[in-house]
Amino acid sequence: MKRRILCLCMDVTDHDIETAIAEGFDQTETLKRFTAVLMGPCEGKSCALNVLREFARLTGKNIAELRVPTLRPPIRPLPLAVMGAEES
């Protein structure tokens, strides 16, 4: 089967997840750090579930038992000008 993109932000494919696991990144946290999934501009909104499903399928783990990386603020990008402004 041809490779399929899983993560739009970082162009991570299903092959990449397979490679990452074979390279030893067989925990969700280390997978994230190695492939940069969940760390692009969408912060996992469009890819998290598909990545976790593929990861669970390839590792034979139960998807419901995966340790899902912490959800970090902000939910939407914050302009530095606004965050850094003095309060009126």
Binding site: G24, E29, L80
Partner: protein, 409 residues
């Protein structure tokens, strides 16, 4: 397939180890690798979570040796030397990038500090030079130099990929026979008659004459397992990353006055942090709102064009900071065989390749190399604190302390 990047870490726990290292971050793994390289192969590393889960994988990855006291300069220069060839040495590209390290001073007082420090740095082998506003503008055209008085530029400083250092050291140590146990928490350190005897972990117990505390932010807690109270406390340190933008800033940089440090990664994201005036000791790694505001303000002051960029993600890590902000290196007086490689505050990552070599020399030979001698754990009892004024860190509680002006990078 080729050799895996991250080795299979499923070895059986042996009964006895020559050295047990607590903490699977850049320090613990770097030391293990260096010990094995020096012939001590019977070494175990215990990490309570995944490798690099602490500050090793959460810091802003800045690397320099341009400090202003001989002790700090020598210690960090050993590391900067090691960084230049680390990828080659461990056979793994840690993406150390020699884009340089720029320190800027926006007050006359700190400009004077820069002027005084450079000759000292140069005399001890640091590739640094004093830069005026014009030169700063040339090195980093995006900076607003209107408030900058002077700066220091270290050409062979820069940044590296933090996770890669963790993985590279882990693989290299594993190849040399070190036993690495992730997801294994140390629950007790056995001490008898003032001497380390063994370690109990969630995976079983071992006996060992030597334990190294390389637990980063958790080092005070780990020391307590051996009955040792460190002159250090645990503090949270935060950072954020912006959305990727086109390359604007080449060097890694810090601003001495606003206690701000930042760099732009190869992917184009700005990674940055800024120190608040005071943070109380805490083990909470919850992100804070105040940090976003403070760092955003300081970043836009330095680089006005960043006003239109956006913060993508924020996080926090834990650091262990001592009273003089310097590391604790060497065996404790209280417990024989209990060694410290901790207390690094916000400077642990940049120091790791050097510290690994020096601490390994120390452990294998028994004699402390000159670079780590001044940072002996008993220096507080002997009133031999080292006051390094160019640390981007605020002293935690004793704000009145004369020289220690600032806190991390």
């Amino acid at each position: 397939m080729k050799r895996r990047i991250l080795p299979r870490l499923d070895k059986q726990l042996r009964r006895t180890y020559e050295t047990a290292i607590i903490g699977g971050g850049v320090h613990g793994l770097g030391l293990a690798y260096n010990l094995a390289k020096r012939g001590m192969k019977n070494v175990a590393v215990f990490e309570k979570s995944y490798l690099g889960s602490g500050a090793s994988g959460r810091n802003t990855t800045l690397i320099r040796s341009a400090f202003s006291t001989p002790e700090w300069i020598d210690l960090m220069q050993a590391s900067v030397d090691a960084w230049q060839t680390l990828s080659d040495e461990i056979g793994f590209n840690v993406m150390f990038t020699r884009r340089g390290y720029l320190i800027v001073a926006t007050s006359e007082k700190n400009a004077e500090l820069c002027r005084r420090a450079v000759p000292l740095q140069n005399s001890r082998g640091v590739a640094s030079r004093l830069v005026d506003v014009k030169e700063i503008k040339a090195i980093a055209p995006c900076l607003d130099t209107s408030r900058i008085h002077a700066g220091v530029f270290q050409s062979n400083g820069g940044i590296a990929r933090h996770d890669a250092v963790v993985w590279g050291y882990a693989a290299a140590a594993d190849r040399l026979g070190v036993d690495i146990f992730p997801n294994t928490e140390v629950t007790a350190i056995d001490v008898e008659g003032g001497q380390v005897r063994g370690v109990r972990t969630t995976r079983g117990s071992i006996s060992t004459p030597r334990v190294v505390n390389a637990a980063g932010g958790h080092s005070p807690d780990v020391a307590r397992l051996a009955g040792v109270e460190l002159p250090a406390k645990t503090y949270p340190l935060e950072a954020f990353v912006t959305e990727p933008i086109k390359p604007m800033l080449d060097p890694a940089m810090i601003c001495l006055e606003t206690l701000t440090y930042l760099n732009q990664t190869a992917r184009g994201e700005f990674v940055a942090g800024s120190e608040p005036e005071q943070i109380p000791p805490s083990r909470s790694i919850r992100s804070t709102f105040d940090f976003l505001e403070l760092t955003a303000r300081h970043m836009v002051q330095l680089i006005p064009a960043l006003a239109g960029a956006s913060i993508l993600r924020q996080w926090a890590g834990l650091i262990d900071m001592t009273l003089d902000l310097g590391p604790l290196l060497g065996e404790t007086d209280e417990v024989k065989g209990f060694c410290l490689d901790c207390g690094w505050g916000g400077y642990g990552f940049m120091a790791s390749p050097g510290a690994g070599r020096l601490m390994a020399d120390y452990i294998v030979s028994g004699g402390a190399p000159a670079q780590i001698k001044p940072f002996a754990p008993n220096r507080f009892a002997l009133n031999k604190q080292i006051h390094e004024p160019s640390l981007v860190v605020l002293l935690p509680e004793e704000k009145s302390a004369p020289a220690a002006e600032k806190r991390s990078a």
